[in-house]
């Protein structure tokens, strides 16, 4: 099984100028471990809304690639948002689900993906342009292509080992995370609005 920190590091190594939303919990720590950036918005709450944060960002910034990196539990809580994203057909939006089949922050209880729920299949049924289930490191290159370059919306579900790793925490203050993101993206316009 692949290790989640290696996977996220690989995905983010090729981010270029992509805008990143990190779903709460382990995926936010994974993104921080790979290198914090003002253009990464790590979520500390609002479970189930990461994909919609990505959609709002993708619609507001159609010329930029938007990458949502989130966990299976977080994605399951916002399953309806896959239908909403599928209908909008935002070509610049990609979602990577780091799937350890567990709720990692609450005692490693199994999620629905441990019991057969196929998130890539759901995304496909919702009209996503590209979907992929990844189990082996050999498929990560294809995953990166889907996430970074192919016309979306794309969803890549990547199976990883269920394990507790050392915390790698981004800044916690929400207003700071918002302000640094907008300044990095919009420059002076961020404060003129």
């Amino acid at each position: 099984m692949m290790q989640r920190r290696d996977v996220v590091k690989t995905l983010l190594a090729e981010r270029g100028n992509a805008l990143v939303v990190a779903g709460l919990g382990s995926t936010a720590w994974d993104c921080t471990a790979a290198g914090d950036s003002p253009l990464t918005f790590p979520m500390w709450g609002a479970m189930g809304t990461a994909a919609m944060m990505g959609l709002g960002l993708a619609l507001a910034q159609p010329s930029r690639r938007v990458l949502v990196i989130t966990g299976d539990g977080e994605m399951l809580m916002g399953l309806g948002s896959l239908a909403t994203v599928g209908v909008q057909k935002a070509r610049n939006l990609a979602i990577a689900v780091i799937d350890n089949e567990r709720y990692g922050e609450t005692g490693m209880q199994e999620t629905h993906t441990a019991h057969g729920v196929d998130l890539a299949g759901v995304a496909r049924s919702c009209g996503f342009a590209r979907t992929l289930l990844v189990r082996e490191p050999g498929a990560l290159e294809q995953a990166c292509r889907l996430l970074h370059s192919d016309a979306g919306p794309a969803l890549v579900q990547i199976k990883v080992r269920a394990e507790k790793l050392p915390l790698a925490l981004p800044p916690r203050e929400g207003a700071l995370l918002k302000a640094r993101f907008r300044r990095a993206l919009l420059g002076e316009a961020a404060d003129a609005e």
């Binding site: 939303v21 809304t49 944060m53 959609l55 709002g56 918002k178």
Partner: protein, 174 residues
């Protein structure tokens, strides 16, 4: 009587709104149609209202102003996501058509309708209650300023007095 959906649509445009998320309500029918017909607006149908909170927050991160249309029953679906709005000081503009409030015919609407202002205020939103059609657009203009210039979450609640649906038959005929 004022054509409030047309005036509300105009108020959105004047406030610089470019993104509209909605879960339909009979009271929003015409406004939703106006938004979909306006190619300058990106109008997004949601499966549940809390998706709209994510949409608006993500839109603001990207520099876009948005508005969410929903019925009062949907306000309850937004509660946890409103915690993010408050913690991050995201601007948020909600236009809520009320049920369970004035002459309601469906008893299942009453608990959430009655709790709607308290729930919004408990999560830190400013609530403007509107009882007359000609007050809606001016309230939206002021609410948009409060939201986007003062980084507040603002909900404009349109009373059932304005919407005026009094029976299942009337609702079905909308």
């Amino acid at each position: 009587m004022s054509d409030w959906p047309l005036e509300a649509h105009r108020a959105f445009r004047q406030a610089g709104v470019s993104l509209v998320g909605y879960v339909p309500d009979a009271g929003h029918k015409r406004l939703i149609e106006l938004c979909h017909a306006d190619t300058a607006l990106k109008t997004v149908r949601l499966t549940t209202e809390e998706e709209g909170i994510g949409l608006a927050a993500g839109g603001w991160l990207g520099g876009a102003r948005s508005v969410l249309l929903m019925q009062s029953s949907g306000v309850g679906n937004c509660i946890n996501a409103l915690g993010m709005v408050r913690e991050c000081r995201f601007p948020l503009l909600l236009l809520v058509t009320m049920r369970g409030e004035f002459g309601e015919f469906n008893p299942w609407q009453v608990p959430m309708g009655q709790a709607t202002p308290a729930v919004l205020e408990a999560m830190g939103a400013v609530v403007h209650k509107i009882d007359a059609a000609d007050e809606i657009a001016p309230a939206l203009t002021a609410a948009a300023r409060l939201a986007f210039d003062s980084y507040a979450a603002v909900a404009v609640l349109i009373s059932q007095r304005v919407i005026g649906i009094k029976s299942f038959q009337e609702q079905a005929a909308q």
